[in-house]
Symmetry: D2
Subunit: 313 residues, 4 copies
Amino acid sequence: MVIMAASTSSLTFQPILERIAEEIERTPGRGRPADYIPALAACDPRRFGMAVAELDGTVYGVGDWREPFSTQSITKVFTLALDLAREGDELWEHVGREPSGNPFNSLIQLEYENGIPRNPFINAGALVVTDRLQTRTGDAAGELLAFLRAESGNTALDFDKDVAASETASGDRNAALAHFMASYGNIDNPVPALLDQYFRQCSVQASCADLALATSFLARHGVRADGTRLLTRSQAKQINAVMLTCGTYDAAGDFAYRVGLPGKSGVGGGIIAVVPGRCTLCVWSPGLDERGNSVAGVAALDRFTTLTGLSVF
Amino acid sequence: MVIMAASTSSLTFQPILERIAEEIERTPGRGRPADYIPALAACDPRRFGMAVAELDGTVYGVGDWREPFSTQSITKVFTLALDLAREGDELWEHVGREPSGNPFNSLIQLEYENGIPRNPFINAGALVVTDRLQTRTGDAAGELLAFLRAESGNTALDFDKDVAASETASGDRNAALAHFMASYGNIDNPVPALLDQYFRQCSVQASCADLALATSFLARHGVRADGTRLLTRSQAKQINAVMLTCGTYDAAGDFAYRVGLPGKSGVGGGIIAVVPGRCTLCVWSPGLDERGNSVAGVAALDRFTTLTGLSVF
Amino acid sequence: MVIMAASTSSLTFQPILERIAEEIERTPGRGRPADYIPALAACDPRRFGMAVAELDGTVYGVGDWREPFSTQSITKVFTLALDLAREGDELWEHVGREPSGNPFNSLIQLEYENGIPRNPFINAGALVVTDRLQTRTGDAAGELLAFLRAESGNTALDFDKDVAASETASGDRNAALAHFMASYGNIDNPVPALLDQYFRQCSVQASCADLALATSFLARHGVRADGTRLLTRSQAKQINAVMLTCGTYDAAGDFAYRVGLPGKSGVGGGIIAVVPGRCTLCVWSPGLDERGNSVAGVAALDRFTTLTGLSVF
Amino acid sequence: MVIMAASTSSLTFQPILERIAEEIERTPGRGRPADYIPALAACDPRRFGMAVAELDGTVYGVGDWREPFSTQSITKVFTLALDLAREGDELWEHVGREPSGNPFNSLIQLEYENGIPRNPFINAGALVVTDRLQTRTGDAAGELLAFLRAESGNTALDFDKDVAASETASGDRNAALAHFMASYGNIDNPVPALLDQYFRQCSVQASCADLALATSFLARHGVRADGTRLLTRSQAKQINAVMLTCGTYDAAGDFAYRVGLPGKSGVGGGIIAVVPGRCTLCVWSPGLDERGNSVAGVAALDRFTTLTGLSVF
């Protein structure tokens, strides 16, 4: 794996990243950081980093691309892949793969659909995936961490205990979702143990470079950094499809319309995206729009696909 | 424009289509035709046709690929393109571009979102698009027909008056949607006139060959058959994105997961799909699954992307 | 029938009404008149009238108690009685008798419950009742007018053509409800004809005195002013029950809690109420609260039951 | 307090109760006992008991009127009274007093209304009331038990530990409700402690005689058995109003229509009812209809108000 230093690279993506960073720099308005836990609220919304990883592990970056940030919901993609690799299609009997409509529907849909969440990227669905990975491995969060370290080559990558503790302290809504699904028999583990695993996953700190590399298996149609296969080609395609239709909260349609790539955002301000067969991206800027996606992050990805023509559409 | 006869073609797509047709032929279970109007209920669910159009107008086909069928909601794509070409982004202030969640939400979402439908492919959204095209042209259905004839090169392509009359006779639900949106000021034309335009559009009869050709402007990034530009590259990408996230009723996630192409289905049993920059497809088989998509049609497209690797993911 | 002039009466209810009127007079804040049609928007929110009718037809009144106002939804009670008298319990297969929860649910409930509205006092339910009375009589609005004239003894009581025309002009939402129920087969008459009947009923102009007298059959357990029986004792009890649980829009619980009487309000600012076996009341003041009930009207009825102890609880 | 033996009474209500019991005995079809916990599922649906308590404590009864049964949601009335007596109107800022519409709405309404449940008799509302009583007393369940013993004169009345344990074991849905409201700041106590209090209240075993006597304070306008006042006259009226509009799950409208009395049912098959100023009733038969109310219980109360004319309407 070759990590290219931003300043010395003469390859394709570097000038594009630098041009995007300049444009973002000149753009006023960055949204507001998430404020439900102190660690996120303290972030400066003007921070900005972006990285592109080629299939061979070459990484280009700009701005704060090596600064670790709170990955939050981005890790839902990796947990999904790790569980899908283990149990295959049976997973889809416990979680759907349809967009959820607007946020206001989350609970009514769970009720209407008998405790089966709509997709693995809404909180209810991610709780189910974590629950199933936990049953199969005994340590869902540990599996996630090992995978992220291996794919990124960054062995220092870790959970943030303060963030996990803050999530737990404000975790009543996720507890409600888990108990509600448990009432339908769709949760196997005790709710407190499940929440502990879930909040640790959300607390992973990683940089744009780390996450672009860790996402590469989806651009390589299921093949890991070491050449072994995690997912079948078909499963990798499936995860990309779920990312495109469900990966950016209630703005999946808008993200597809503007960016046109499979992507997954987190309230820490990060977004990962996949150009199947070509490269992966990760962008970070903590200011969010009202739907929970990074304002500068979406704008940067929009520019990237416009400048390179690398949209899937 | 060169139409290749199925039996004589030696080019790339023909053997793939023939293999798919054989597999579909051997597959039991085709779903049931739509039964809310007599013309659809009378269709034989074992009919099957499929066509692929290359960017230059070459068409490959198999089975009933030249048999006209009731296009129904497939025409929503063309009406959207015709209106978007005229009014541009202002359209998006009157209709969203997010998936709608499940069917049960259609009315509650309209109410919750003050009469702005979620996307142009649910009935409420298509009524808004038709209303706006009607205001701009005075004959929305006529514009649609002219466009379809020009792109397909089939001047015999026409409305089916019996189907339009049947739709009107069972049109109370669409009338309810239109009046409801009118109560929010989101419909300009008188409801009966709007419904007349809308039901005529749904009644267009066309074949797989016709529709594959008529869809080609989306694979050509906005350029029509005669080389003139209907949409900007960006607008063509946007329509593809909306098709992927919203094109197959409440199964958009599943369609993306299985097929991985922008597509739009109709309850007549047709589905169109786009491989941006490469080709377009249309498949027809009248038997529907419980979500209103052609059973054999989805299966055939699934096979196509698996065999060719031409998914966007 | 003896109509007592307010100024000369020495009987029981008169001093109570006068005391209430004084208190209301001193109370600031009257809410705002309905503004969706000009005739209602023009009303002075400080107008106030109140009447009590004893079972023998003696009427006491205060303030604007003889001033005709727009009855609006109050007439739903009479239409219900006229239809129930004709078809009996079969009506309840087409409309429920449960409170509707909040307004936001109206359409979703119609959808969830297959076009059967929750109760006869929400608009959807009143449309069904009018539709059925229309089928049985050929002139639902005419039947209503004849009944109101007979019970009140006021032969000048009539529709207001301007109000009916205004309602029609802003009638898209009711048209949506009617078409939606028609799509479930729960409407027999053509929607435009039904709406004409419905809006004429809403347009009846009547005074507090008129309406208190017209409501008396419910306090007399089903017996009309002329001594003939319109409803069985059981049916009269049923209508009172439906008024108590469903009569004041989404504030039925609050109205029961504060006033404790079966009642029905209209957006014209009127409210009728029943003390079974004892008397009936009608109060009018055009300023509405955010749930569509007359602010001074509810306050006056609250005072009445507190001062007299004539609540049902 | 004088308890009349059923066989020797010659007073007013006794022959009516005996007639009702005979009619119920001859009526086939009793519904099915609740089956979510073993203790309820084991009940014989043909058990039937009914008691009437006059204001002076005289009790009439028939059938299994002295047999203790699982009170379940009936105790929500007493917990409400105990908390309302302590905190007064402030309670209503934390729980509404409107009917909830149908069951399917429970969670969506909580979400739509920011964690404020619609009324104190749905589970979410009862959890809030218990939470508040717990905060004020430190032992909500103990307060309830002391009150029921004092009013019924039955010092043996107690919780059923097995029932409470069963409720806890199947308590995920109530845990979900409590955590969900906690996420809006509408729950003060830790959720596990709250649930313990709540499930103990549901587990109280009491007979028809016990409950008819314990309910008498609502017929006496707020005065307890020992002559002290628990509630103001106005508060007693308020609780009666909430019982009438919200006391029988999603059948409040139907119960008002058929019975016409304030009432509260439990899934143990019991129902209490109030004739304000006159008497109280309790009926028990474990077979439930699909909305959770005792089939024979509702039928018996319907007969009672028809035979005696003691409906509030």
